[in-house]
Symmetry: D2
Subunit: 462 residues, 4 copies
Amino acid sequence: MDPDDDHFRDECGVFGIHGHPEAANLAYLGLHALQHRGQESAGIATLDEAARITAHRAMGLVHDVFPPEVLSRLGGRTAIGHVRYSTAGESHLRNAQPFVVEHGGVAYACAHNGNFTNTVPLRRRLDAAGALFQTTTDTELLLHLIAHAPPGPPLDRVMAALRQVEGAFSMLLLAGDSLVAARDPYGFRPLCLGLLSGAYVVASEPTAFDLIAAEYVRDVEPGELLVLDRDGLQSLRPFAAAPRRFCVFEHVYFARPDSTLGGRSVYAARQALGRALAETAPVDADVVIPVPDSGVPAAIGYAEASGVPFQMGLIRSHYVGRTFIEPQQTIRHFGVKLKLNPVREALAGRRVVCVDDSIVRGTTSRKIVKMLRDAGAREVHLRISSPPTRWPCFYGIDTPDRAELIAANHSVDEIARYVTADSLAFLPVEALREAVGSPSGEGFCEACFTGVYPVRIPARPQ
Amino acid sequence: MDPDDDHFRDECGVFGIHGHPEAANLAYLGLHALQHRGQESAGIATLDEAARITAHRAMGLVHDVFPPEVLSRLGGRTAIGHVRYSTAGESHLRNAQPFVVEHGGVAYACAHNGNFTNTVPLRRRLDAAGALFQTTTDTELLLHLIAHAPPGPPLDRVMAALRQVEGAFSMLLLAGDSLVAARDPYGFRPLCLGLLSGAYVVASEPTAFDLIAAEYVRDVEPGELLVLDRDGLQSLRPFAAAPRRFCVFEHVYFARPDSTLGGRSVYAARQALGRALAETAPVDADVVIPVPDSGVPAAIGYAEASGVPFQMGLIRSHYVGRTFIEPQQTIRHFGVKLKLNPVREALAGRRVVCVDDSIVRGTTSRKIVKMLRDAGAREVHLRISSPPTRWPCFYGIDTPDRAELIAANHSVDEIARYVTADSLAFLPVEALREAVGSPSGEGFCEACFTGVYPVRIPARPQ
Amino acid sequence: MDPDDDHFRDECGVFGIHGHPEAANLAYLGLHALQHRGQESAGIATLDEAARITAHRAMGLVHDVFPPEVLSRLGGRTAIGHVRYSTAGESHLRNAQPFVVEHGGVAYACAHNGNFTNTVPLRRRLDAAGALFQTTTDTELLLHLIAHAPPGPPLDRVMAALRQVEGAFSMLLLAGDSLVAARDPYGFRPLCLGLLSGAYVVASEPTAFDLIAAEYVRDVEPGELLVLDRDGLQSLRPFAAAPRRFCVFEHVYFARPDSTLGGRSVYAARQALGRALAETAPVDADVVIPVPDSGVPAAIGYAEASGVPFQMGLIRSHYVGRTFIEPQQTIRHFGVKLKLNPVREALAGRRVVCVDDSIVRGTTSRKIVKMLRDAGAREVHLRISSPPTRWPCFYGIDTPDRAELIAANHSVDEIARYVTADSLAFLPVEALREAVGSPSGEGFCEACFTGVYPVRIPARPQ
Amino acid sequence: MDPDDDHFRDECGVFGIHGHPEAANLAYLGLHALQHRGQESAGIATLDEAARITAHRAMGLVHDVFPPEVLSRLGGRTAIGHVRYSTAGESHLRNAQPFVVEHGGVAYACAHNGNFTNTVPLRRRLDAAGALFQTTTDTELLLHLIAHAPPGPPLDRVMAALRQVEGAFSMLLLAGDSLVAARDPYGFRPLCLGLLSGAYVVASEPTAFDLIAAEYVRDVEPGELLVLDRDGLQSLRPFAAAPRRFCVFEHVYFARPDSTLGGRSVYAARQALGRALAETAPVDADVVIPVPDSGVPAAIGYAEASGVPFQMGLIRSHYVGRTFIEPQQTIRHFGVKLKLNPVREALAGRRVVCVDDSIVRGTTSRKIVKMLRDAGAREVHLRISSPPTRWPCFYGIDTPDRAELIAANHSVDEIARYVTADSLAFLPVEALREAVGSPSGEGFCEACFTGVYPVRIPARPQ
């Protein structure tokens, strides 16, 4: 019902800071800036001088999870934090991160964005070795791997563990007296390095640096493992090399438009997607409108390239959160309306190009088209600033089964009829590649569009 | 700290429905659509077949105040609802509306948007007659006037009471078995009539009708009093005639852009304000950006008229509500940043026109200009889509004292220096009048800009 | 289901303090000691140097209603407080006390224990004079009477108002800069005066003085009105004289056993009731047990006088409050068991005298008798330390309708059969009189036992 | 400050039921009856037909932890539950039980009352084997032992694990499709078996059976392990035999007086303790009073044996829970008074024998003696119905360090002076043995009195 519900969802955001007297406060602010990457639970773990870890995690938004009195209990100059989204069935405090354990007299905490693809054999092996599982999270699995690693200092154990996992990870760990930041060799998920008054910070997106007035230094490289401790910053390359495969959908929808990822401004990329869309799918129209908020930059790009005027033809209300429960059966159909309302003046009697970033099931698009027509739009042309999403993701994104992906099972014409648009166009994959600056597609994971999976995916059932 | 804090604030929104089996649910949805008019408290009172009133009111957003179990207790086919904002000092459940009382065996409920200007003498007189005041609200005062009116049926008492008050009111009452909707003769605040499957609805803005799929019928006229009861709709004119004086600031900032007020689309008005601003205060620039969300339509208008490209150069986070309490002194200055973040790509090296709707104290504008420069803007030209706000409002808007209104005490140049903009321009009053379709200014209250108060204001101290 | 539910209930407790720097804290503690007189809502109003009143009231126990941050906001050196019980239907925050209003520039607060008997004509008259009622409480009625009193200083108005009401009142008011404590001429409900480091305190029971280490001075006399202000303590007698009619049921059940009321220790009175019961209704038995906690002193008295050993044959769990909601239909019958459990060792094979203070509907007694038999009691002889309660109270006690009072409609034999006791005996009225030290019955209201009402009761329907 | 605070505390209570359609509801009621054994956290885990475990645990009282909607989610016909107390420092949801894990495709849940004494070497070994610890609880340790046990069916693993632990355990487990109840060979902590309509129940005390109308069958024997599954009840003896060493302090203070433990009624035992105390430490007095509630049966016994009349000279308020936080420094000393108040009538001018069950630090006793004197007691003779507690417990009881145990470091005379009693007497160990029916002391653990520890205690620091 929520327009946001008919989207892929990023599963997590991570933030870390080493060597700052206000570590927990800054983690709180950093997570706040990453809230769009996960609204289900939030957590922060801090590391103090005595290598002790204190943590707090709870269901809810960052703002609600960390009232001042909780934040003030999180002492120490090093912190990692996590925001999480997950599907309803698995929604549970138990799965909230950072996960904290003790082994061999050493405290570990782990916050993870990504998804391992070889959990089944790993878990089977650990189980046989006596490992007790309290959750189904990759994070706990990694901690068991650390505990079962060959004897050695914490950092060696962490590397030994990470070398056993396949798939996507942008991960922060507290281990002994160090903060470790690791990114898988393909670099599926983003991870960036910044600097604030001499303290290093790491975050899923550099927008988190803006909020705390930290300076963006560079991306953590695919396959790189950073160790932040009293000796400063150390960069290791403990993993077998692999081709860079950054998730292109971060540019399409997940990341905040004010972020720069892999050297490319997300806002600029989305505008370019919109411009490319205008070129590949032009239409004779009176007005270009976005589905707010995510469709705005692409719609601006479309308007620029097409010369059709841009208008905010749909107004989005921001007073209702994701947790809205509608009061009664009889008003259940107000779902989308609670979030979006048309501006009749901008639509009535006009031929409307409506720009959105993706179509997952098509249910929300259908409602939006109807809403625009009810507001007097003479024609509604739906333009999607990405190719059809036909394949599920196994690298850290929550996507429905193929059976539910409308584009996996229907032609563009069929989708157009279902959403009742006068015309519908997606962006060709080639145009997407151009817009993100990689004409060959090299460097990006496009599996959700192409079904080409860079890393072997688990056999079903998982 | 909140960018919304440096704005005038509308004090209330009202919604009513008569003769619908889901009266409370529809009031809930209607208030949701009016949430921007008051986020402090919300309330609904319903009237059942036996002329009994049931009510619930609490501090908080509509969504939080009315969980399903509360809503389901509000029976009856007639309902009025209220959302409220007020200054911090008066913030108290006691003042939440609708106010419910009993007198002479008749139950009354009242929900009010506006402000009476002759409360001091009225209250003095009622006090002498033995009236007990539990609040300082106009609503309670009106109910006392009803109780002290000459003997007669409830409707006669209501009219007798309303004839004694001066100032602004768009008011809904439950009285006996009727829903009464009254608008003062000047029509300061908006009030609209709609129809949903044979049931009449009234609301501060027609956007509330959109959400429940009701049809807009017409505005309640200034000086009109509607009675909705089992005999249907009756229109009375119980007040002395007065010239229409609709609050022009509803068009500038208060109302939702998807509303139409006084026959004028708010979105269209704001775009026209932006276009007029481009004409009266042009500047050689590379990009036009709005202060989101309220500055968007004017910025689009400015871009259209000036030919300078429109960009969303500031991204607004919607995860933090008004109640955000910052955790520590040391990070207090992050206030605006928590809500707004610049898009470096759209700003760096550019000459930026930043469009906002008004400046109250100037503190937020100053922070925004700094944020834009920090993001690389070469020049920042602030354009305000309304004249300088120099006078407080006494007709239902929360405005600071004159001493705090920066434009009341400083020249435009001084303000420009304070906010550190390269240039600053407000819209001339004449251009505002044109944009709202009244070249002479007739029909509007412009007191906050001009100091010309249509109705005598109370002597200080009130 | 709760054994406490089958009792009459005192409707309120009041506490006041004048001229102490920790007025609110002491009121908090005082109300805590009076919590047994009302567990539904609690409130405190404080009066500061500038004659301003600050108040907080909420549903719940004293401990929950006043967290430290709330208490610390209640400034001023004078305070009144209130705990309340009421029947479910009227249970509402709106009715919580102290009630605070403003009239003629003077703030008033009122906390009331008692019940007026002439509210119908008073309310009719006030209504005709334009008074607006927001509640059905006597407290609000009194405040309206104050507002409609002849012009004059607050104290004169208070006295004029109180002179118009009939029935029972032990009342505390803040009026202007004074604390007023008034007790009706019959003295139905208790009210005591104490002293703490030079500050006067007033409370429903002197047990409240113990907790704060205040010294008991004397009872407030029936018909007395105390004024506590900067001139100290002033005693007035503004009411027509009447015979003392103190509620005898305070001795039977309401008051705490550690209180002394009307010069008589409640504990001693209850022991005397038990002794008298042993004399008037002896039985050949092996053990005397109380229904805890209220039946303990009488059972001790019964054991003393009869020579039958005293045992705690029923254990009471204190972990469940009054608000316990049972989880499912199927375990609904565990109600009494959740509070009481038999000690088999003390009961098995024995002839048991079970002493309780009163029987209202008989439902709980029936369950207790069954519980005792299930635990092996050979015989169960129920002894009630008061006469049969046959008449409802109109003076501040919550009693069921006559139809529900088992003793109003059934003989003692019939009741014995209903509760399945081997024998049942109540205390004769004469013995009750002896035990409370008034052989003639003079000085006490015994209406619930005798139907002789000292003050005219309202005609039905009220 | 709380009189309950100056007591040893039982650390846990457990309840289990197998094969009943209302398993969770009955566990809820059973835990309610065991609430006195732990008020810090509560939890229930249920096992359904598919051998899946569902659990809920939270900080707080049973009543608050399990609102109806939570309880209704706990499906299945088998359940175990736990109530827990722990010292403040370790108070954390993480440590709440039952603990639930998965291993080898089998779900396990564990609820434990007791304390292992060999955790240090066990934990060291498990750690070396890669076990990850999330808590410091014995329960998690046991689950790791199960996971590291030789391959085999769940029950074999459970037994292998339990055979490795030393110390005290009365433990319930869900393992595969069975409920396992195990009691260590010494039988330190109680565990009882009951039957309810064909379903077996196990509980720390039989009082839990009373509440749900289950029948007491017998104690689980020391060293016995019961398996409840679809084949019914199986009794195993997997542990090396050991002499019975039941905690004598259960009779002195921990257990509810309405329980029967080891064939001995707790109420009767306490009465016998009181009688023995009267014989070993008589005093010429006017009245015997208990410190309620725990001192009541012993005081009754003392009164019986001495002929001195029993009175409830101290009244206990039950409106304040353990969580009471006093509002201000200045009223901090009201702690005990909030719970206890003297009955002046029963004390004034009298020579008082005050019976309590134990003295830990002496701070509360000192306050009580002062309170009695302030109420007019002419003499105060403190009689303690157990020997001096001189040694800490390592078998499941929370006791202070020796340094804080007043009797470990002071003579009886010194203690008497500290608590300002006219005389003080403890019960000789021999008399305690007689009272609990074991003249030789055989069968009981008396370590807290004698320092003779039946099982080797951990070297310090643990």
